[in-house]
Amino acid sequence: MLLLTCPNCGLAVEETELAPGGEAHLKRFGPDSTAEQFEEYMFLRDNAKGVHFERWRHAYGCGKWFLAARNTATLEVYGTYPARTTEPPQHIRDEIARRTGA
């Protein structure tokens, strides 16, 4: 059972206090988008074995969303960061690079 730190309230909490929200950093495509763009937004997911960026909500706590960079194979957590970002912040990317050697 995962243990993730909610960056909004600073607590490391167990999975039962959280609600998962799927892949992070999706770009919304609205009414003027092409079928391909809309498909990408609605349906196509990386489902990575390895480094994965995902959405979590601190459902039983502060109620806020946050994002986590996690390894789906080893369950390693590279870090959590606020939901108000369109891409992983530099310090998270650095940490992933440091730990994966990539």
């Binding site: 995962l2 609600a19 919304r28 009414p31």
Partner: protein
């Protein structure tokens, strides 16, 4: 005859006798006994019958690995089957029963399965029961279900309670043997928060039994001092009778603590589930001895050498007077020493190895015991118990060289480290060929959040064999000082997987691997021969290791046999997956407090008690309970619904609508936000007014609906469905936090802040006017308006909205006032004929009006356009959630199923979910369909069946007659009509 010895038994207290019964017979044991040791002390060697062949069985082990000695414990509401007699503590008055035997343990009819065992090899079920098919269901299955199995299921609800406890520590040490104690002391001395759990009732593990010496002290004294030192430290929590059951992600560990299983007087919770989050887990879980595979190795009286040592030293009981020891390693010689010390005889040690002269071997030889080198057992004699063994050369084909009379056989096939906790979360193993064991591979541990290993395995569990090795291993792994011990060198083990090596089939068919599931060497070989070469396949084909003991004794021996048959190596074959829990955990322990009224949260409105006191028949709606109807004495539910509908349409009905979601949306961008959330335009709504709105997901599918009230320029109150309140609030916050985070909007879920009561019917205005204080006239408060004020002394918000087509007000007050308002309305309503109505009357009335219901007309694949709700979808807005989704080609197809009303020709009521039958069949040969019923009711207002449904091109086919399926009956004809059945012009609500 097994019996109690005159002396010995470090775990028992001879001054405290304990009475118990087994199969109704009165027996006596001592405090500290297990059921198994007490049964042995009473001469009861036979403890059960095997699963498949009903062979007589006794203990083979002395701990949680025991496959044979499963008994039922307790009676009535405390009855529990399949308990291992080897770990069940004895208590005064304990009632134990044998299992899987009829009519009695001693004379069991099912034993015929054994005599026919050559017809029941691995895969027998699969092969035999495929043809002829009906035979499986009607002949074989009932027979087999009766003939095989373990204990009976309890017939009463468990009367015990169970508790959970969340715990946090830096280091969790599982296993309180000497390795665990040293580890706990090292971690505690470093200032860590330490938890130390031990599944047995005593600390120290095997060391005191095996007579080790630490720091010049006998093991028992060293253990006592260590426990005392640890107990004095505030940063250490120590638990006995607490088993490490499973290790999960990120240092989460479940431990099960037994609180009353050893007590006669039971009060408080029976067991406690510890939900531990540990920085690191140290598994000091020891090792389990392996049986040897020789013919008749399951005859009562044949057991593990270490187990026999435990019975003699720990409990002061023997299984027999003359014990033949058969071994492939030195450790079994300790059993010889223990037996001799207890005054029992060891006529021979059959050691498969040649030329052994290690100190232990020489010591035992020096005590006058005859050691037969290179020898093994060809077969064990005896049926209900051992009478002797035939000796053969291990390297031969089983030719008998000698017969030895004995009544007990102690076997040792080497040791398997208990690596379960290492493996549960993905720790890898390596095969140590010299020691013949799988050991934890320290380079491939289970990884935690930081990517580093979070489980260490120490002592015997990591493959250390002697006390000296164990302590060196602990010091190497964890640091800290190690106690001084004498290092006694042991001779090497010799791998032996069948005895003798060249045993013919006849002998292999009597060599048990998995005692509990009756899997033999011959079965594994058959599986390999038939192509089940993967260990996971062979396991499932033969059921090896799939019994309640999960193959603790059998798995390694089984896969060695498989490797041999496949002519490959043991590591090549690999192990099956280790899964938690280590031993079975009773469901009650996992459920904890979640049982009875606390099984799940039941949400109650402020008026709940009134409903209950007035005979409400409940309908679960999510976790809420809402009154379905209020049947009067002698009245059916259907009749109650009819009465409630008529009374509401003709006079006055009251509905507790408190469960409906109420979400406050506030801020400068609130209008813009709601325009994105709802399909229709909300920003143009005037303060003081209400508007019905639809919410779709990004697929375009309708997900919720409700009335939005504009409170002021920046504030809206959004009503949702009962089930949607939390979901829609989360949905709103998701968009605000993760997509439009620069928009200035706050949302607050106020569902529970307010009680809301619908006052419905022609007399609705009259009753509010009687309460007084507010102008609720048609002019001041027209349809789809709201106002704040004081109504009958209540600070209230009154919405003029209707879900029934009647004149209707919904009155919201703070929840604490809800019950008082309800009482006031009921009282004031007496003269107007007020009656409460439930959810079913609500449904009937909304269906009469053709209003859709989320979850009836929608199922997550329906867009609003399917339901004729195009009027509620803005054409002006550039964007809203679901707009792009609804624009997809599939939704523009003309033959989509769309909402219509349905009226049966004969006035009967269509079945819910019934399909409209079309001509022909589809590619699967099934009848084609062209629609289905989504809501169907008897309408008291129209005195006929009415229904709504989705029909292909439905709105274009008004007046057409369709045929709808009926379960077990002829299709029913129904005409497509307008879905609004009643008061199409809304004259009743607009008064």
């Amino acid at each position: 005859m097994s019996r109690r010895l005159r002396t010995g038994g470090r775990r028992i207290d001879r001054s405290r006798p304990v009475s118990f019964t087994f199969d109704g017979r009165e027996m006596r044991g001592f405090a500290g006994d297990t059921v198994a040791s007490a049964l042995l002390a009473n001469g009861q060697l036979l403890m059960g019958r095997s699963f498949k062949y009903h062979r007589p069985r006794s203990v083979v082990g002395s701990g949680p690995e025991e496959p044979n000695a499963l008994v039922s414990i307790g009676e009535g509401a405390r009855f529990e089957p399949n308990q291992r007699a080897t770990v069940q503590p004895l208590w005064e008055g304990l009632v134990a029963r044998s299992q899987n035997a009829w009519p009695s343990l001693d004379f069991d009819i099912g034993r015929v399965n054994d005599y026919g065992s050559k017809f029941l090899p691995a895969g027998f079920y699969y092969k035999t029961f495929i043809h002829p098919r009906p035979f499986w269901k009607h002949v074989f299955e009932p027979l087999i279900r009766r003939a095989t199995g373990l204990g009976a299921a309890p017939t009463e609800a468990d009367r015990d309670t169970y508790a959970h406890r969340y715990a946090y520590c830096d280091t969790l040490v599982v296993g309180g043997g000497i390795a665990g104690l040293v580890a706990a002391r090292a971690a505690a001395a470093a200032g860590e928060r330490v938890m130390l759990v031990e599944r047995q009732e005593l600390w120290g593990g095997r060391a005191p039994t095996d007579g080790a010496t630490l720091d010049g002290q006998p093991a028992a004294e060293w253990v006592r001092d260590s426990v005392q030192a640890l107990g004095a430290m505030e940063n250490v929590t120590m638990l006995l009778r607490c088993e490490g059951s499973g290790v999960y992600d990120h240092g989460y560990v479940l431990c099960t603590e037994s609180l009353t299983d050893h007590l006669a007087g039971k009060s408080g919770p029976r067991q406690r589930l510890w939900r531990v989050r540990a920085g690191r887990v140290v598994a000091a879980t020891g090792a389990i001895e392996r049986p040897l595979s020789f013919a008749g190795n399951d005859v009562p009286g044949v057991l593990l050498a270490s187990a026999l040592r435990d019975y003699v030293v720990d409990y002061g009981v023997s299984l027999g007077e003359r014990t033949v020891i058969v071994t492939n390693n030195d450790d079994a010689y300790r059993t010889a020493k223990a037996l001799l010390a207890a005054g029992l005889r060891v006529p021979a040690i059959l050691d498969v190895r040649e030329g052994m002269n290690s100190p232990l071997v020489n010591e035992v030889k020096g005590m006058g015991v005859r050691v037969h080198a290179g020898r093994g057992i060809a077969r064990v004699h005896g049926d209900g118990r051992v009478t002797g063994v035939s000796v053969c050369a291990q390297s031969g084909d089983g030719t008998v060289l000698q017969e030895i009379r004995c009544d007990c056989v102690a076997m040792s096939g080497g040791w398997s480290p208990v690596v379960h906790l290492w493996s549960h979360c993905g720790g890898k193993l390596w095969w140590d060929e010299a020691r013949a064991m799988f050991r934890p591979d320290a380079d491939n541990p289970p990884t935690g959040a930081d990517g580093k290993g979070f489980v260490s395995v120490i002592g015997a569990a990591s493959g250390a064999l002697s006390t000296a090795e164990v302590l060196t291993d602990v010091a190497d792994t964890l640091g800290g000082p190690a106690p001084e011990v004498e290092d006694i060198a042991e001779g090497p083990i010799r791998q032996v997987w069948t005895m003798p090596e060249g045993a013919p089939h006849k002998l292999r068919a009597k060599m048990w691997l998995d005692y509990q599931n009756d899997v033999k060497v011959s079965d594994i070989r058959l599986a390999a021969q038939e192509g089940f070469e993967s260990v996971e396949h062979a396991k499932r084909y033969t059921t090896l290791g799939m019994a309640t003991d999960q193959g603790k004794l059998s798995n390694i021996n089984g896969l060695a046999v498989l490797a041999d048959r496949l002519d490959t190596t043991i590591p090549q074959v690999g192990t099956t997956t280790f899964r938690p829990p280590y031993t079975p955990v009773t469901i009650g322990t996992l459920a904890g407090e979640a049982r009875g009224v606390a099984f799940q949260p039941l949400r109650r409105t402020p008026v709940h008690d009134w409903h209950e006191n007035h005979g409400a028949h409940w309908e679960p709606v999510g976790q809420w309970r809402r009154p379905y109807c209020y049947p009067r004495p002698g009245e059916s539910h259907a009749d109650a619904v009819i009465r409630e509908v008529r009374n509401t349409r003709e006079r006055l009905g009251l509905l507790d609508a408190s469960t409906l979601g109420k979400i406050l949306v506030r801020g400068p961008d609130a209008g813009r936000f709601l325009d994105m959330l709802y399909t229709n335009m909300m920003s143009t709504l005037k303060p003081g007014r209400c508007r019905y709105g639809l919410m779709c997901d990004e697929n375009g599918f309708l997900m919720d609906d409700g009335v939005v009230a504009r409170i002021d320029d920046q504030t809206f109150l959004c009503h949702t469905t009962t089930g949607g309140a939390e979901r829609i609030h989360v949905w709103m916050e998701d968009w605000l936090q993760c997509e439009w985070w620069d928009w200035k909007v706050h949302t607050l879920n106020l569902t529970e802040q307010f009680a809301q009561i619908a006052v419905v019917g022609p007399k609705a205005r009259a009753v509010l006017e009687k309460l007084g204080g507010m102008d609720v006239s048609a002019e001041t408060l027209p349809f789809m308006a709201w106002t704040d004020g004081t109504l009958g002394g209540f600070e209230a918000r009154v919405f003029r909205i209707s879900f029934s087509g009647e004149l209707s007000y919904e009155i919201a007050v703070p929840a604490g006032q809800g019950r008082a308002l309800w009482d006031a309305l009921m009282e004031a309503g007496v003269e107007f004929g007020a009656m409460p109505y439930g959810t079913e009357a609500l449904h009937v009335m909304r269906a009469e009006k053709g209003f859709i219901m989320i979850g009836d007309e929608t199922d997550g694949t329906i867009i609003p356009q399917d339901l004729g709700l195009d009027w509620a979808i803005s054409k002006k807005k550039e964007d809203f959630l679901g707009k792009r989704g609804q624009g997809r080609d599939a939704f523009r197809k003309p033959d989509r199923w769309k909402l219509v009303g349905l009226e049966t020709i004969d006035g009967s009521i269509l079945e819910d979910g019934a399909y409209a039958i079309a001509d022909g069949t589809n590619e699967n040969g099934q009848r084609r369909t062209e629609g289905r019923v989504t809501s169907t009711y008897y309408s008291p207002t129209l005195d006929r069946g009415i229904a709504m449904g989705l029909v292909a091109r439905g709105p274009d086919r008004m007046g057409e007659t369709l045929r709808f399926t009926q379960i077990g009956g002829e299709p029913v004809a129904a005409r497509i009509v307008d879905p609004v059945f009643f008061d199409r012009d809304g004259e009743k609500q607009n008064v």
